[in-house]
C-alpha cells in the first residue's frame, strides 16, 4: 500500500463531515448507546461532553471502527459507511488519537509513524522501506499543520505534548481528514494545553474536522465550535459556545434532578479518625497527581468525593493505603502519624478498603471464597493464629459473610471468579466490614452491581456509619454520593476544589466543580 499523495482536502460541501443517526449499541445486560444523533460540520471542532459511563467511549469506538453499531447509520462526507475495523475507518478518513498513546517507546518517531503503512522504494527494491520519502512527508505534514516533530527521535525521549503531536501526525499521515481526540488534555500541563489548542486551530484552518471528547467544560467552551452533550447513553443536546454557559452545560450533563437524601439523624461525632494534610504526589513532566490535598474524616461520618475519573482519586486511595509513595504531606490515623507505615501495618490498625477494581486489587480469582476472605486480613484473627492460618476461623467468618451479606453462592469453596460481579462486591464489602475497621475507604462500592444489591450495600454502609465507622466514599454515581455522604468534596486535577452540603448541592454546582467550570468563578 503506497502512501497517499499529499493533497489539500476538497472544498467543504453541504454535507456533514460525519453524521450519526439513531445509533444503538447494546452489550449483554446494558445499553451503552441509544438514539444517538450527531452532526459534525466539516472543518470545525466539535466537542462531545459527558460524564463517565455516559457512553462517550463506546460511541467513539463505533466511530473509529472498533465496534459495530446494532442499529443506526453512519455517514462520512454524505456517504453511508460501515466499518469492520479501524483500517476501514482510516480509509474513510477518520483517525483516532487515543487518550493512552499507542506509541512504541523504543522506536523512533518515523518508525511509529509509518508502521503498517510503510512507503516502499521503487522497482526492484520494493522490499525496502523508502525512508527518504517518509521523512519528507513527515516534515511536510509537520510544516503544513504546524506540528513539527523530529523523525529520528526515540519516542521515549519525547515529552507528553510532543507524543501527542506524533499521534496526531500519525493519523494525518494516513490521510485522515477527521480526527477524534479522546480526552486529549487529560495529562497535559496548562502550557501544553495552550499549544494543543493552537495546533487544533491550525488544523481546522487547513480543513481538518476535529471531534473533541472531554469532560472539562471550560476548555471545551474555549475551543469548540459546537458542543454535543451525552447523558445516559444518548445525545441530549447540541449547543454553540456563545449560547450557553459552563454551568448550564454542567446541568445538562448531570441531569436536572438530583436525588434528595433522606433525612436522618446525623451520626457524625467530633473525633477525627483519619486526617490527611497537604498530600502531594509530583510526577516529572506531568501535572501533580495530588496537589496539596487535605481532608478529615470523623467517626460516624461518610465523606464523599465526587469527581470525574482520572482526577486523582486512584492516587489518593493509594496514598492512604500506603501503596503509593507521596512526595509531601502527612496522614494521621486517630492522631498517630502513619505516613511511613507499610500497607500491612495500616490494615492491621484498622484501615479497611473496598478497591475500585475488585478483580485486580481485591480478589484472588482462582482461589476459593474462604481464602479470599483472608486477603487483606491475613495477620489477624479469626484468620490467623500466630504464624498459622486458622482455617476453621476463616471458613466460619466466610460463612458469616455469605449469610449476612446475601452473597449468592452454593458453597464457600467456589472460586471467586465464578461469582457474578455483584456478589463479588457484596462479598468484599462484607469481608471488610466484618473485620471491624475504624476507617473504611470505599471506592465505587456499587459499581457493576444490580439495584437490589446496591440498596443492600448502602444500608450496610449506613449501619456501619451509625456504629462509628469513618468512611471515605469515592464514587462516580451522584445518587450514591448524595444519598450517603455527610460531607461532599469535589476533586479536580488532583485538588479538592469544593466542599458542599449534600442536602443542598445543586446539579449545576456539582457538575461545574467536577468539570473545572467552577474554577476561578465566584461561588
Amino acid at each position: 500500500m503506497t502512501a497517499p499523495t499529499s493533497d489539500a482536502p476538497t472544498a467543504p460541501t453541504a454535507d456533514f463531515a460525519v453524521e450519526l443517526r439513531g445509533i444503538v449499541k447494546r452489550f449483554p445486560g446494558v445499553v451503552a448507546n441509544r438514539d444517538v444523533n450527531l452532526q459534525v460540520r466539516p472543518a470545525t471542532i466539535h466537542a462531545v461532553v459527558g460524564e463517565n459511563g455516559a457512553g462517550k467511549s463506546t460511541l467513539m469506538k463505533i466511530l473509529y471502527g472498533m465496534q459495530k453499531p446494532d442499529e443506526g447509520t453512519i455517514k462520512v462526507g454524505g456517504e453511508e459507511v460501515s466499518f469492520r475495523s479501524p483500517t476501514d475507518a482510516i480509509e474513510a478518513g477518520i483517525g483516532m488519537v487515543h487518550q493512552h498513546f499507542m506509541l512504541a517507546d523504543n522506536l523512533t518517531v518515523l518508525e511509529n509513524m509509518i508502521l503498517g503503512y510503510e512507503p516502499r522504494r521503487a522497482g526492484p527494491l520494493r522490499f525496502l522501506v523508502d525512508e527518504r520519502a517518509a521523512r519528507e512527508r513527515i516534515n511536510e505534514l509537520g510544516a503544513r499543520y504546524g506540528l513539527p516533530v523530529d523523525p529520528d527521535a526515540l519516542v521515549e525521549q519525547l515529552g507528553v505534548g510532543e507524543r501527542q503531536r506524533v499521534e496526531i501526525l500519525k493519523v494525518l499521515y494516513r490521510g485522515a481528514t477527521t480526527l477524534i481526540l479522546d480526552e486529549p488534555t487529560a495529562v497535559l500541563v496548562p502550557q501544553e494545553v495552550e499549544e494543543l489548542f493552537a495546533n487544533l486551530a491550525e488544523l481546522k484552518s487547513e480543513g481538518i474536522t476535529i471531534l473533541f471528547i472531554s469532560h472539562k467544560l471550560d476548555e471545551v467552551l474555549s475551543v469548540a465550535d459546537d458542543i454535543t452533550v451525552i447523558r445516559a447513553g444518548t445525545t441530549v443536546a447540541t449547543r454553540q459556545p456563545h449560547e450557553v454557559t459552563a454551568r448550564q452545560l454542567a446541568e445538562i450533563m448531570v441531569g436536572s434532578e438530583l436525588p434528595t437524601p433522606e433525612t436522618r439523624e446525623s451520626t457524625v461525632t467530633d473525633t477525627v479518625e483519619l486526617r490527611v494534610e497537604g498530600l502531594t504526589i509530583l510526577r516529572p513532566g506531568l501535572r501533580p497527581a495530588l496537589d496539596n490535598i487535605s481532608l478529615e474524616i470523623r467517626k460516624g461520618e461518610i465523606v464523599g468525593i465526587a469527581g470525574v475519573e482520572g482526577n486523582g482519586q486512584t492516587e489518593l486511595i493509594g496514598a492512604i493505603m500506603g501503596m503509593v509513595p507521596v512526595t509531601d504531606g502527612r496522614i494521621e490515623l486517630a492522631g498517630e502519624d502513619i505516613t511511613h507505615w507499610s500497607t500491612r501495618r495500616r490494615r492491621e490498625n484498622g484501615i479497611g478498603a473496598v478497591p475500585q477494581d475488585r478483580q485486580r486489587h481485591g480478589l484472588l480469582l482462582d482461589a476459593p471464597l474462604w481464602e479470599n476472605q483472608i486477603l487483606g486480613h491475613q495477620s489477624q484473627a479469626p484468620n490467623a493464629n500466630g504464624p498459622w492460618i486458622d482455617r476453621e476461623g476463616a471458613r466460619a467468618r466466610t460463612t458469616e459473610i455469605v449469610e449476612r451479606f446475601d452473597v449468592r453462592t452454593p458453597t464457600i469453596d467456589v472460586s471467586a471468579e465464578a461469582l457474578s460481579g455483584g456478589n463479588q462486591q457484596k462479598f468484599i464489602i462484607g469481608r471488610e466490614l466484618l473485620a471491624e475497621p475504624s476507617v473504611m475507604i470505599a471506592a465505587h462500592p456499587t459499581r457493576g452491581v444490580d439495584v437490589g444489591a446496591q440498596a443492600f450495600i448502602w444500608d450496610q454502609l449506613r449501619d456501619a456509619r451509625s456504629n462509628g465507622l469513618a468512611t471515605l466514599l469515592i464514587s462516580a454515581d451522584l445518587e450514591e454520593l448524595i444519598g450517603l455522604s455527610d460531607t461532599l468534596l469535589v476533586i479536580y486535577e488532583g485538588r479538592i476544589v469544593a466542599q458542599l452540603d449534600p442536602a443542598h448541592a445543586t446539579p449545576e454546582e456539582l457538575g461545574s466543580h467536577m468539570t473545572g467550570a467552577g474554577e476561578g468563578s465566584d461561588s
Binding site: V30, R344, R360, H361, E417
Partner: protein, 380 residues
C-alpha cells in the same frame, strides 16, 4: 467433583497424547510399539524395578517441590541444577569431616546441604534485585559455574587423599551419617525384599519434605502471602504483602529444598560424593515434575513416581534390545502437552464455572458491564 475431573484431565490428556506420539515414532522404526509397551508394563511393575522407581522418585520429588515453591510465586528457579550439586558436595565433605552421634550427624548433613543450596540460590535473586539481571540467564550460567567450582573444590581441597581412594571423591562418611535401608522394615511386614535391592529410606526424607511443603505453603501466613503474590501480585500488595521480600525469601526457600536433592546416595550406600554418586539433570527434571504435578504435594508425588518409572524401565527395555530412549521422548512430550493442556482446560473450566454459576444464582439483575461503565441507565 467436576473440579477434580478437570484437575486430572490435563495430565491425563497429556500422557495419552505422549503415548500416541511415542507409538507413532516407534511405528516408523523397525521396533514394535506393542512389544515396547509390553516390556514396560510387565517388567516395569516387577519388584526389582518398582524398587528402582521408588528410589529414583525420592530425589525427583524433592526437586519438584523445590521448583514448585518458586512456581507458586510465579518465579522460576532454574538454578536448582547447580544448587543441588554444590550442596551435595559441601554436605558430603562436611559430613565426612566430622564425627557426630547418628541422629545429629544426619541432621547436620541435611542442614549443610540446605544452607549451601539457599546460598547459591540467593545469587540470582540478589543480582536481579540490585542490578536487574535476568534471573533466568544468570541461573543457567550459575548452574554451569557450579559444576566448575565443584570440580575445582573437589579436586583441590575436598577430596579424600588419593592413597585412601583412587576415585576422586570426598572422604567417606561415618556410618552415623548414613540412612539405613528400609528392607528390614518392609520385610518385617511381609514384603519379601531381597537384600540386593536396597530400598533407600531417602523416600522418607522426601515425604517429610512434602509434608513441610504442604504445611508451609497452605497452613501458614507466610505461605498464604506467597500464594497470593503468585496469584495476583497487585491484590497481594494491596493486602499488605512486601513483594520484594517475598521474592528473595521464596528463592531462598526453593534453594534450601533444592539442596536436599542430591543426598540420597551420599547418605546411603555410597557414603561420599563422587561423580557417580550424584546424578545430573535433576534440576530440569524437577521443573517437569512440578509442572506435571501442578505444584501440589500429592500431584508432585504422582509425577515423580511416573517419571521415575519411565526412567527405571529403560533398563529392561535395553535388556530386551529395544530403544530405551522412547521413554525420554514420552517424558518430553508429556511436559509440553501438559502445559498446553493446562491452558486449554483452565480456560474452558473457568468459563463453564462462571456461566453455570451465573445461571444458578439469578439475581434478576445485570451481569457486570464490559468496560467499567455503570450499567444502570440513569433516568433522564
Amino acid at each position: 467433583m467436576k473440579r477434580l475431573i478437570l484437575q486430572f484431565a490435563a495430565p491425563g490428556l497429556a500422557i495419552g497424547f505422549a503415548l500416541l506420539v511415542s507409538a507413532l515414532m516407534l511405528s516408523i522404526t523397525e521396533y514394535s510399539a506393542a512389544e515396547v509397551f509390553n516390556v514396560i508394563v510387565t517388567e516395569g511393575f516387577s519388584k526389582v524395578y518398582l524398587i528402582e522407581t521408588v528410589n529414583r522418585a525420592a530425589p525427583y520429588y524433592i526437586s519438584g517441590v523445590a521448583v514448585a515453591v518458586g512456581f507458586k510465586m510465579n518465579l522460576f528457579n532454574i538454578g536448582v541444577e547447580g544448587q543441588y550439586k554444590l550442596a551435595a558436595l559441601f554436605a558430603a565433605a562436611a559430613a565426612g569431616a566430622v564425627s557426630l552421634p547418628a541422629p545429629i550427624h544426619v541432621v547436620f548433613t541435611l542442614l549443610v546441604a540446605m544452607v549451601v543450596g539457599a546460598a547459591w540460590a540467593s545469587i540470582p535473586a540478589i543480582l536481579k534485585a540490585t542490578r536487574g539481571v535476568s534471573e533466568v540467564i544468570s541461573s543457567i550460567m550459575l548452574n554451569a559455574i557450579a559444576l566448575g567450582v565443584g570440580s575445582f573444590l573437589l579436586g583441590r581441597w575436598l577430596r579424600a587423599p588419593a592413597s585412601v581412594s583412587p576415585v576422586v571423591g570426598t572422604p567417606s562418611t561415618d556410618p552415623s551419617a548414613r540412612l539405613p535401608t528400609l528392607n528390614g522394615l518392609l520385610n518385617s511386614i511381609g514384603l519379601n525384599i531381597p537384600d540386593a535391592n536396597r530400598v533407600q529410606s531417602y523416600i522418607l526424607v522426601a515425604a517429610v519434605v512434602g509434608v513441610i511443603y504442604h504445611i508451609l505453603i497452605w497452613r501458614t501466613r507466610f505461605g498464604y502471602d506467597l500464594r497470593a503474590t503468585g496469584s495476583n501480585p497487585e491484590a497481594a500488595g494491596a493486602s499488605g504483602v512486601n513483594a520484594k521480600r517475598m521474592i528473595v525469601t521464596a528463592m531462598l526457600l526453593s534453594g534450601g529444598f533444592a539442596g536436599l536433592i542430591g543426598l540420597s546416595n551420599i547418605m546411603g550406600q555410597a557414603g561420599r560424593y563422587t561423580d557417580v554418586s550424584v546424578v545430573s539433570g535433576l534440576g530440569f527434571t524437577g521443573i517437569a515434575i512440578a509442572l506435571l504435578g501442578r505444584n501440589h504435594p500429592v500431584g508432585i508425588a504422582f509425577a515423580a513416581l511416573l517419571w521415575a518409572f519411565m526412567d527405571a524401565v529403560q533398563t529392561p527395555l535395553s535388556n530386551a534390545a529395544l530403544p530405551k530412549q522412547i521413554t525420554a521422548i514420552m517424558q518430553g512430550i508429556t511436559v509440553l502437552s501438559v502445559v498446553i493442556a493446562y491452558e486449554v482446560v483452565r480456560r474452558v473450566g473457568s468459563r463453564q464455572e462462571a456461566s453455570g454459576l451465573r445461571r444458578d444464582t439469578t439475581e434478576g439483575g445485570e451481569p457486570p458491564p464490559i468496560d467499567g461503565t455503570s450499567p444502570k441507565v440513569v433516568p433522564a
